[in-house]
């Protein structure tokens, strides 16, 4: 099932939650909605679920406008950010709740609930009440409940944000596995870029109620189309440079081509990832290593440039031996196009 947001606008009083959102989720894909808190991710998802009406714009499912379909008739399963299991029902009854609403017989309800609990790895927890389960288990049951009616689209609103790191990683892998197994179109809201990059087919980065960029994880990381995306996804260095306005920029004594908006001239920030920055030990170098952190194959150096700018550089650990804290170094960039942003005055 294809889901399409078209020019969605929504305001809550003076707050613009959505400001012209355009976005499409294709059949069977896991689309992550990524963005800082308050950028309108939940609002977009709730419009798809039918809990919020757009001020203007449309939500299309397989090409049809579903604005007038009430929430309980939309074919969407949802997992909420807050724990949302019905406290008065056992895990099995929670999962079977939707089936009961659809008047499915008791025997079939029970077998389907057992099947779904099996699917999320909790077959032995059928008779537990929500308060007898951990947060991770509760969200698994919530996932089973959302899948019980075989919805055409699965909506996940930061389902992992209340869980601790280890469970979070485990569960997101499981969500991904289930999603691919069932080939169900899924919209996954998160503010965690790592979560989005590691699970999604495509990631839509939102900012202030609009779409900033929507692309596959690798493309988003390697060629972010805006400085906002570049900084939000992964770690980014900002180096002072001077753009000439003809599509090149001078930075660290090198002249590099500008990617994207080539017209910028004057003082700019040049955005480069730590792994693209190279540092070599150099007695006469003007930069100085201030800290090192060992990450296995790579070591992350924090380097202070002559003008005081701090740069992070990831270099292979076997080359980091001469670059202890306090060492002098030279910092260089590869001959590749770079993203620039005009400096705020």
């Amino acid at each position: 099932m294809t889901v399409e947001f078209r020019a969605l606008h929504k305001s809550f009083g003076a707050t613009k939650a959505l400001d012209g959102l355009d976005l499409t989720a294709h059949q069977g894909e896991l689309l992550a909605l990524l963005g800082p808190s308050g950028c309108g991710k939940t609002t977009a998802l709730r419009m798809l679920a039918g809990f919020e009406k757009p001020d203007s714009g449309q939500v299309l499912v397989d090409g049809e406008d579903i604005s007038d379909v009430p929430a309980h008739r939309r074919d969407a399963g949802m997992v909420f950010q807050a724990y949302s299991l019905f406290p008065h029902l056992t895990a099995a009854d929670n999962v079977a709740f939707g089936l009961r609403m659809r008047k499915v017989g008791a025997a079939e309800r029970r077998s389907r609930a057992a099947e779904l609990l099996e699917l999320v790895g909790l077959p032995q927890h059928a008779d537990r009440y929500p308060h007898q389960m951990s947060g991770g288990q509760q969200q698994r049951v919530a996932l089973a409940r959302a899948l019980a009616l075989r919805p055409k689209v699965l909506l996940l609103d930061e389902p992992l944000s209340a869980l601790d790191a280890k469970v979070r990683v485990q569960l997101r892998e499981e969500i991904r596995r289930l999603q691919q197994e069932l080939a169900i179109t899924t919209v996954f809201v998160t503010h965690d870029q790592e979560e989005a990059l590691s699970t999604a087919d495509r990631v839509a980065v939102m900012r202030d109620g609009r779409l900033e960029q929507c692309a596959g994880p690798a493309e988003l990381y390697d060629t972010p189309s805006t400085p906002f995306v570049a900084e939000f996804v992964g770690t980014m260095n900002r180096l002072p440079g001077r753009a000439s306005g003809d599509g090149s920029v001078e930075v660290l004594g090198q002249r590099l081509p500008v990617r994207g908006d080539a017209g910028t001239a004057g003082a700019v920030d040049v955005l480069v990832r730590p792994e693209a920055v190279d540092a070599t030990a150099d007695e006469d170098g003007s930069a100085r290593v201030t800290a090192t952190a060992f990450h296995g194959a790579v070591t992350r150096l924090t380097v202070a440039l002559a003008d005081g700018t701090t740069v992070k550089a990831d270099i292979p650990s076997h080359r980091a031996s001469g670059l202890a804290a306090g060492a002098s170094a030279t910092v260089t960039l590869p001959e590749r196009p770079v993203l620039v942003e005009a400096r705020a005055a």
Binding site: A49, A76, F80, F86, H88, G98, M101, R145
Partner: protein, 292 residues
């Protein structure tokens, strides 16, 4: 070690407070009971109690009060539950207004309330004698089931019921429960009845409980409007005899307790909650393991 002594200290205090509170309640009660059964010159006798039970009007007034209580509970919950849910789900800005309205009866003394009611009841029939509303006024004051008392009690119990329900709704995430149910295919009405209300069971019981207690003990409105619910009857019967009047209050106290216990028992969840869960929810109900 420090924690252990600390805990013991707390226990000791708990015991002391419980003892003082217990004495404060039980001593007067025990004295009252003693006074009613130990009549000077006759020795031990239960005549005061048998006198009450045998007096005419006992069953009638008690039944009337229970009926009034039932009607009041239905009306209060019927008014408040939809209003509170609507305010919570649809219009959060109306909540303060609702709170103020529901608290108003606290500042209006019941005597003033009654003065208002009797004014209207007197005025109404005069001006409306030729309209169908006249019959309404008559029906409202029917001594067999004075609807006007239900209305008055409803107003008087609003503050209590409001607080009980509001506390219950604070404890559960009504909005998320509602939306979770909707996304499982429940219409709004079914979502309320099958996902929200079952989780407000305790709050609903509390609200009913407080309303029942209020109606059982209400004297002013009933007496001043000239009806004979239980509290009014009890005062009337006990007025003449010292022993009897004290026996009457002891008896009404016990009766209230008995009814409230019945209510509490009825309100217990039907599903068997495992011991572990019970211990978590209400530590006081399960014997604690000794301090470890």
């Amino acid at each position: 070690m420090a924690r252990l002594t600390n805990r013991r200290g707390i226990r000791w205090w708990r015991g002391a407070v419980a003892a003082v509170a217990g004495l404060y309640f039980l001593v007067p009660l025990a004295c009252s009971v003693l006074f009613t059964v130990d009549v000077p010159g006759q020795g031990f006798t239960l005549s005061a109690y048998t006198g009450i039970l045998g007096a005419s009007g006992f069953t009638g007034s008690l039944l009337l009060t229970l009926e009034l209580a039932a009607a009041t509970i239905v009306l209060v919950l019927g008014l408040l539950v939809p209003a509170l849910l609507a305010a919570r789900l649809g219009a959060p800005r109306l909540r303060p207004l609702l709170e103020v309205v529901c608290s108003l009866p606290l500042v209006v003394p019941s005597v003033a309330l009654v003065a208002g009611y009797s004014g209207v009841l007197r005025w109404g029939p005069q001006y409306l004698s030729r309209t169908p509303l006249f019959q309404t006024f008559v029906a409202v004051q029917n001594a067999d089931f004075p609807v006007v008392l239900v209305l008055a009690y409803t107003v008087m119990s609003l503050p209590l019921a409001y607080r009980a329900l509001d506390a219950g709704m604070r404890a559960v995430d009504v909005r998320t429960l509602m939306e979770a149910a909707r996304s499982c295919g429940a219409s709004p009405v079914r979502a309320v009845f099958q996902a929200v209300l079952p989780n407000l069971r305790g709050a609903l019981m509390n609200a009913g409980f407080l309303t029942l207690a209020l109606v059982l003990g209400e004297y002013t409105v009933g007496a001043l409007l000239g009806f004979r619910p239980f509290a009014v009857w009890i005062v009337g019967i006990g007025g003449s005899q010292a022993q009897l009047s004290v026996a009457v209050s002891v008896l009404s106290l016990l009766l209230t307790w008995a009814l409230l216990l019945v209510f509490a028992a009825a309100g217990r969840p039907r599903t068997r909650i495992p011991r572990r869960a019970l211990a978590k929810a209400a530590p006081a109900l399960v014997p604690q393991e000794s301090a470890s």
